[in-house]
């Protein structure tokens, strides 16, 4: 990972993961401008960390961790918002960021399903199924024990399945 502290290598990291980090920030804030700001800050701080000569083994997980902490920090500042509002998941505002109408329909379908889940389940499922992190990495990103994440992941998948089954039956 020592090559990461060159401009070209780091910008390649940005090109590979910018969308994923932005999505994570958007799902947690439902605010495009704030998500963009937090995403940029996550990459900037990661660079600063590397520029100090420190090593990072999994840079994607590292940027996600920084982003996650910045998101927590963002809500910590806004004390008028209760802790229950954290992970401000607004399906309409998230779907609004998708321009293509067909894509938007697909995104709305997933978001509707996720809306029925608890925030912790949404987090674990998207980090696992969308961003490709295993329980160990999710544990680091969310500051949880790996075993706890494994159990929650198992349960969250089951809950999503039941939500989707329920929706299928209703339709």
């Amino acid at each position: 990972m020592s090559d990461l502290n060159t401009k070209t290598e780091f910008l390649a990291v940005y090109d590979d993961h910018a969308d994923a980090v932005y999505r994570r920030c958007l799902f947690k804030t439902s605010d495009h401008e704030v998500a963009l700001d937090l995403m940029q800050e996550a990459f900037t701080r990661t660079w600063d960390y590397l520029a100090e000569g420190k090593e990072v083994r999994n840079v994607k997980a590292f940027v996600f961790t920084v982003a996650n902490n910045l998101i927590k920090d963002h809500y910590k500042k806004k004390k008028s918002i209760t802790m229950a509002d954290m992970g401000n998941f607004d399906p309409h505002r998230i779907a609004d960021e998708v321009e293509n109408i067909n894509d938007k329909v697909q995104v709305e379908e997933v978001i509707r399903a996720l809306e029925n889940l608890k925030e912790a389940d949404r987090d674990i499922l998207t980090l696992n199924l969308l961003d490709g992190f295993g329980p160990k990495e999710i544990g680091k990103i969310m500051d949880e024990r790996e075993n706890t994440v494994s159990v929650r992941l198992h349960r969250a998948r089951a809950r999503l399945r039941s939500v989707l089954k329920l929706e299928d039956n209703e339709s």
């Binding site: 502290n5 401009k7 780091f10 910008l11 940005y14 969308d19 932005y22 999505r23 401008e33 704030v34 963009l36 700001d37 995403m39 940029q40 990459f43 900037t44 701080r45 990661t46 660079w47 520029a51 100090e52 000569g53 090593e55 083994r57 997980a61 590292f62 961790t65 920084v66 902490n69 910045l70 927590k72 920090d73 963002h74 910590k76 500042k77 806004k78 004390k79 008028s80 998230i94 960021e97 998708v98 321009e99 894509d103 938007k104 697909q106 995104v107 379908e109 997933v110 978001i111 399903a113 499922l125 998207t126 199924l129 969308l130 680091k140 500051d143 998948r157 999503l160 399945r161 989707l164």
Partner: protein, 456 residues
């Protein structure tokens, strides 16, 4: 539904993407940030590959000459060492736009200090003044160019803090120079001209530059009520710097409490610190409620006042504590005193002579210095008040709707001139509140992960 089906289902969320414009804009800012924040190790290695730099560093470390040169003013033999060696080395330590801007601002303040020193001695001739104001103008422009770079990297909070401090430096010293001019008949018009130049620099297109850069960074901004404002992350950075400056100014004031023989000056500075803390407190409220525009204006006021207090304490340290410079700088004041009390003046002059010839007369010398410089202090008292009030007015002129609030706080400073024993605790409370507010972002945003990394 098996794992793959679930993955495909959730995978539809990949349609949520950055627009090309946003992706490119953030990429450009990141690239600029990378260029300006190169890895420390490689930068230092490349610096020390250059023999000239090594030689210069050795001169700096071994010489001791450079330390002596720090007090030099134009016309002194060591002035060239100060400007060409010391300041070149100071510049080498600046590894990014932010520290470059800080360095240029620092050099600007050094040139201004030289102006003040010469003016206070009554030896500021028009040619030297012109040379120094030209240098100040050039370093101010260089600082602003770097501030613009910082802003273009999306670091609008840091850029704003640099600009506010630069404006405050120019305005505050402009007032101090005007007061010095009033104390001395010698070269007074030259000093006034220099003061006017500083004021003009402060009022030039500083705000426009930052605003333009902020506008260019476009998407990074949060728009509230159609007004451009700082993003949450950038508001934090401005908050952090403002609290840091207030803490420095408060500590500096506290450590030098006894040098203010005139209690009016002391009380005024204390009041300014409290006003700064009040604005800082209000800014934290604004940030918590998500009103970043209001937070920005409160932070602008808080930082302006804290920076002013810091500068005034620095000037007082110089005029009250240094030996030869103090006597020189207080000379015009002594002359002025002499016009009203001949007896006092005679005592002062005699004791000063003794002090220069007899080492054992240090106590007397100290007393004399205080009395000799007291008229500088008394007059500078007005300077402090005027400075802060004028500073507040200049803030008002740039902050539109908040002008009334600034004028009100300026008025309240005039009225509540008396000291308040709870002031120290009040400032402490606000600083602690800011610390708690910022602790997460500064300590844990990367640190949390680091410990996890080490476990592997």
């Amino acid at each position: 539904m098996n794992h793959n089906q679930l993955q495909n289902f959730i995978g539809k969320l990949t349609h949520v993407q950055l627009s090309d414009t946003d992706r490119e804009a953030v990429r450009n800012r990141l690239e600029t940030h990378i260029m300006n924040n190169q890895p420390i190790v490689s930068t230092w290695i490349s610096l020390f590959k250059k023999p000239a730099m090594v030689l210069a560093a050795l001169v700096f470390i071994v010489g001791g000459v450079s330390a002596a040169a720090e007090q030099a003013v134009p016309g002194d033999p060591l002035y060239a060492v100060k400007v060409n060696v010391n300041e070149t080395l100071m510049g080498l330590a600046s590894l990014n736009s932010f520290s470059e801007a800080q360095n240029q601002s620092r050099i600007t303040a050094r040139r201004i200090a030289e102006l003040e020193s010469l003016a206070a001695r009554g030896t500021l001739d028009p040619q030297v003044s012109q040379r120094l104001t030209l240098a100040i103008s050039q370093h101010t422009q260089a600082a602003r160019a770097h501030i613009k770079e910082v802003s273009e990297q999306g670091e609008t909070g840091s850029a704003l803090s640099l600009e506010i401090e630069l404006i405050s430096t120019l305005n505050t010293h402009s007032d101090i120079l005007e007061k010095i001019a009033r104390l001395s008949d010698m070269q007074a018009s030259t000093t006034v001209t220099a003061a006017e130049e500083l004021r003009r620099m402060a009022q030039s297109k500083a705000e426009d530059d930052v605003s333009t850069a902020v506008e260019q960074s476009g998407t990074i901004l949060v728009r509230v009520n159609n007004e451009r404002t700082l993003s949450p992350v950038q508001a934090d950075k401005l908050l952090e710097r403002t609290a840091g400056r207030l803490k420095e100014a408060r500590t500096d004031f506290d450590n030098n409490y006894e040098i203010f023989s005139d209690t009016t000056v002391r009380d005024t500075l204390e009041e300014l610190l409290v006003t700064s803390a009040d604005d800082l407190d209000a800014a934290v409220d604004n940030i918590e409620s998500g009103d970043y525009q209001a937070a920005k204006e409160h932070l602008r006021k808080a930082l302006t006042l804290a920076h002013e207090v810091g500068i005034v304490v620095e000037v007082y340290k110089l005029y009250d504590l240094s030996s030869a410079d103090t006597k020189d700088s207080s000379a015009p004041a002594s002359t002025e005193t002499a016009t009203t009390t001949d007896e006092q003046s005679a005592t002062s002059t005699n004791t000063e002579t003794e002090a220069t010839t007899t080492a054992t007369s240090s106590d007397v010398s100290t007393n004399t210095e205080v009395s000799a410089s007291s008229s500088v202090e008394v007059d500078a008292t007005t300077s402090v008040a005027t400075t802060s009030l004028q500073g507040a007015s200049s803030v008002a002129s740039t902050s539109g709707s908040s002008s009334t609030a600034v004028e009100d706080s300026a008025q309240s400073i005039r009225k509540t001139w008396s000291p308040d024993s709870n002031n120290y605790q009040k400032i402490e409370r606000v600083l602690k509140r800011v610390d708690e507010n910022l602790s997460f972002s500064t300590d844990e945003s990367t640190g949390g992960y680091t410990s996890g990394e080490e476990e592997n």
